[in-house]
């Protein structure tokens, strides 16, 4: 086990940021920590990285209890904070070297690693430029690069793609995937379920400081899916169809919306052919179905959407 938190409690005055929170990261895996804003993801990371003390619970890093400043254990972790953590007036290369020095990377290795990362991050051409002149995406990439200067065993990324354009986001995700392929253990927090679904080998979903579900994406969606949703597009609205569809076995709800008819059924009801059979006389122009996502899982577990904490 690379890192684990057991029954961790962290309070800020009257707010409980972590409420008996437990999580573990296994060697070589990419663990996605998914939760809405304010769920306690960043607090969990801060506690794990020994930036703040927990009020209760146990934290273990690389098989040993993490106590005090845990300097030896910190040496094996690379942290990418949620916001940019760079010296704006220093160049990309200077920033990389700075963090290399902090982690006591020997000078020859530091030079080599900095050039390697600049190349990988697509910043080699602007290595001498002060990073305050960089675009948001470039800064984000450099932000990640700084955490990798010492080739950490555990890379922790706290929402690294917030406010990043799609191209840069893709670049960052590819980079994380590449790091994982190279054997690095990754803890990736996000409230973008698409990202977590894409890169995580295991997912922990949290809300209000608690873990509410955990497993692979497939396990989560399989375990927690109770319904299938099918949308049928008709040539014209067909109110008469509603009653006949309600009689189909497994159908729980019919939602007409203009020419579209959304049919919600129990999971594994196997009633698709019967629904389409009833719809065909009214002229079917399209049929849409979507696989359940982590967003759906979160919605069904908490009644909230992942983004913005919207109520259903």
């Amino acid at each position: 086990m690379v890192a684990s938190m057991t029954d961790v409690v962290k309070r800020y005055k009257n707010t409980v940021a972590l409420d008996h929170f437990s999580m573990s990261v296994k060697k070589g895996e990419v663990l996605g920590l998914l939760g809405p804003n304010g769920a306690g993801k960043s607090t969990a990371i801060r506690v794990l990285c020994r930036l703040t003390d927990a009020d209760a619970g146990q934290i273990s890093l690389f098989g040993a209890p993490a106590k005090g400043q845990a300097l030896a254990q910190k040496r094996r972790i690379g942290l990418v904070p949620q916001d940019l953590a760079l010296y704006e007036s220093l160049s990309a290369r200077e920033n990389l070297h700075y963090f290399g020095r902090l982690y006591d990377v020997p000078p020859p290795r530091r030079r080599e690693r900095a050039e390697e990362l600049l190349e990988l991050l697509g910043l080699a051409d602007v290595a001498k430029k002060a990073c305050k002149k960089f675009s948001g995406g470039m800064k984000r990439r450099l932000n990640i690069g700084c955490a990798l200067m010492h080739a950490p065993e555990l890379l922790i990324l706290d929402e690294p793609t917030v406010g990043v354009d799609p191209q840069s986001r893709n670049h960052i995700l590819e980079f994380v995937e590449r790091s994982a392929r190279d054997g690095m253990t990754v803890l990736y927090t996000s409230h973008y379920m698409e990202e977590v679904e894409r890169i995580a080998t295991r997912v922990v979903i949290m809300d209000a400081g608690r873990v509410i579900a955990g497993g692979t994406s497939e396990e989560l969606t399989r375990q927690m899916l109770f319904e299938d949703t099918l949308t049928v597009e008709l040539k014209a609205p067909a109110p008469a169809l509603t009653d006949s569809l309600k009689a189909v076995q497994g159908v729980r709800q019919i939602t007409p919306e203009g020419r579209n008819l959304t049919v919600t059924s129990d999971a594994n009801a196997f009633n698709l052919s019967r629904i389409l059979e009833l719809c065909m006389p009214f002229g079917v122009t399209g049929v849409y179905s979507h696989k359940p996502t982590l967003e759906d899982v979160f919605l069904s577990l908490t009644g909230k959407k992942l983004r913005d904490g919207e109520e259903r």
Binding site: R46, C49, Q69, L71, K74, L79, L84, Y87, L102, Y103
Partner: protein, 363 residues
């Protein structure tokens, strides 16, 4: 050590590459020397209550300008035990401490003085007044207390030629207060650096590194102090080169003491913080030290806050005023104690503030 050097370098480059920082670092001392030296020097009222000092003078006949000057109403209020003595007796009087100064009048005026540099400065003020004639003499005499005060504060103008003859207004006086300003700037720039780091979450990442917090904090402090030290050098160079302020004698040592005191106080604060782990405790201890120093320096410092407020009524910097007047009115020990006490309190308070911000941000 590598982490300290890295933090120091990054912090220094951060400050060095900020246009505002560089501007403040270079222009600030120059402007303040000039502005304070001229504008504030002119504002100062000559209402110092300078303790009369015992003097003796050699040769000179009754009725000469020197004799008249020393015995008239103004002179008599400031000097006591005015005696005309032979040269050999003057030495004995000085050694015995019966007089603080001896003025010699001949073709070329010479001053033989003993006692403190403060008294020597007063005597020089007398000579300055004596050298003038008519209206000019009266005018010079009006300036005398101010001249004396600035000299006793700075101890920079004890030199062989005429006092401040080519120094605009009170620039030499205020060049010393620049040290206070620089010390203030040191604290402020340090806090600014911390604040910027904290706001950018740089500290989160730095503290996630395998480096003790004190190393990071010390590196950051050292960077801001280096910037302040650069300012100090600029102050020396500009005041000496442009305004002719004489920075000889013990003054560099005094100025260095100021700087070291800032370092010391910041380190003290840091140590306290690391020891007790509570900014409240640091604040409490700092306040205690400040009051202790103030109390201890009362024996030396004769404060007149009424006059201070009158003179500095247009300056919203009550703290600087306290230092300046504490130094101007007190003896050597008093001014040092007061100034150092002030700096200690201020820098530790700033340091404490940075920790508060840091703790809040990190918590």
């Amino acid at each position: 050590m590598r982490a300290f050097a890295a933090t120091f370098r990054a912090g220094f480059l951060y400050l060095w590459r900020q246009p505002v920082s560089v501007l403040v670092m270079t222009l600030f001392p120059i402007l303040l020397i000039f502005v304070l030296g001229n504008a504030l020097g002119a504002l100062m009222a000559n209402d110092y209550d300078i303790e009369p000092i015992p003097v003796a003078y050699l040769s000179g006949e009754a009725g000469t300008p020197l004799y008249t000057f020393l015995t008239d109403e103004e002179g008599a209020s400031r000097f006591i035990a005015l005696r005309r003595v032979p040269a050999e007796e003057a030495d004995a009087l000085l050694r015995a401490g019966e007089v603080d100064a001896v003025i010699s009048e001949g073709e070329e005026t010479r001053i033989l003085y003993g006692g403190s540099a403060r008294n020597a400065a007063l005597v020089r003020g007398i000579v300055e007044g004596y050298r003038q004639t008519g209206a000019a003499a009266a005018k010079a005499f009006e300036r005398q207390p101010q001249t004396a005060a600035r000299l006793l504060l700075a101890e920079v103008s004890v030199r062989t030629d005429a006092v401040g003859s080519h120094i605009p207004a009170a620039i030499d006086y205020y060049a010393v207060t620049m040290m206070v300003m620089i010390s203030l700037f040191s604290g402020l720039s340090g806090v600014d650096l911390f604040h910027k780091n904290l706001m950018s979450e740089l500290s989160i990442r730095v503290h996630a590194a395998p480096v003790p917090r004190r190393t990071v904090i010390l590196g950051t402090m050292a960077a801001s102090l280096t910037v302040s030290f650069t300012q100090l050098l600029i102050t020396f160079a500009v005041s000496a080169g442009v305004y002719g302020v004489y920075w000889g004698g013990r003054v560099p040592l005094i100025l260095l003491t100021f700087l070291l005191m800032v370092v010391f106080s910041q380190m003290l604060c840091l140590t306290l913080f690391l020891a007790v782990g509570s900014h409240e405790a640091v604040t409490g201890i700092t306040q205690g030290l400040f009051w202790l120093l103030t109390f201890f320096s009362k024996g030396y410092v004769q404060m007149d806050f009424g006059a201070a407020e009158k003179v500095f009524q247009y300056i919203p910097n009550a703290l600087a005023q306290t230092v300046i007047f504490g130094a101007a009115y007190g003896g050597d020990e008093g001014k040092m104690m007061f100034a150092l006490g002030f700096l200690l309190a201020l820098s530790t308070a700033l340091c404490g503030l940075s920790f508060v911000l840091g703790r809040r941000r990190l918590a």
